[in-house]
């Protein structure tokens, strides 16, 4: 069965520091990978996605994630975080034969302090 593991439940960092949120998945078939962000009392917003092609994908607000097939990972990084990046981040996998479902990781709470 497919699964997603986010290795850190909470990541506290100082403003302007770099950050990495880790995500590993298990699947025996091709996957499509997503990072969603959830601000307090909001729904989930798509941050970035890997479908095919270049293994490095970027978002408009400075986040990037790299698909590593051999390590079955899709870690999210940002070289310099802002207070406004404080949120919950969810890694998710879409598996083509899952009848249209997303499998979510447990989430990582990013807390950016001044």
């Amino acid at each position: 069965a497919q699964s997603v593991t986010q290795l850190d439940s909470q990541v506290p960092v100082f403003e302007e520091a770099p950050v990495e949120l880790r995500c590993n998945y298990s699947s025996s078939v091709s996957v499509y990978l997503f990072w969603y962000v959830q601000y307090p009392n909001q729904g989930l917003q798509l941050l970035l996605k890997y479908l095919s092609g270049s293994t490095l994908v970027e978002s408009i607000n400075g986040f990037e994630a790299e698909f590593n097939k051999s390590q079955t990972s899709f870690h999210l990084r940002k070289p310099s975080v802002h207070i406004s990046d404080t949120a919950e981040y969810f890694c998710a996998v879409s598996v083509g034969n899952q009848g249209g479902k997303l499998i979510f990781g447990q989430g990582t709470e990013l807390s950016v302090k001044p």
Partner: protein, 114 residues
């Protein structure tokens, strides 16, 4: 802008009093989902509609029902809310015209049960 709308954003109900949450979309997507999300947890899929075809998750309690009268609208009915049903309820949509399942989320309805 095409979007997913949930009403109300906040709902308070009494223990055992039926409540209905609504979701509408302007994306013309054929799939609509309902998720339950408790504090500091990943969203948990309750059920989804592919067009009018209803798909219930095996562990969704009978207390939760859903209706989709047309493509644009979907409702979540909780017949007898218990204290344990207090949560954020998220509606999402997607199209299965693609091999991958990118889901678009509404802002959520936070349900409080007194």
């Amino acid at each position: 802008d095409a979007m997913v709308i949930q009403n109300p954003r906040y709902q308070v109900t009494q223990f055992g009093k039926p409540v209905t949450l609504s979701c509408s979309q302007t994306l013309n997507h054929n799939v609509m989902y309902w998720y339950q999300q408790k504090s500091s947890q990943a969203p948990k899929l309750l059920f989804h509609y592919y067009d009018k075809d209803f798909n219930n998750e095996a562990d969704t309690p009978d207390n939760f029902q859903s209706r989709r009268p047309n493509t644009s609208f979907c409702f979540l009915d909780i017949r007898s809310p218990g204290l344990g049903d207090a949560a954020m309820y998220l509606c999402a949509t997607s199209t299965l015209d693609r091999e991958y399942n990118e889901q678009f989320f509404g802002p959520g309805t936070r349900l409080t049960v007194l």
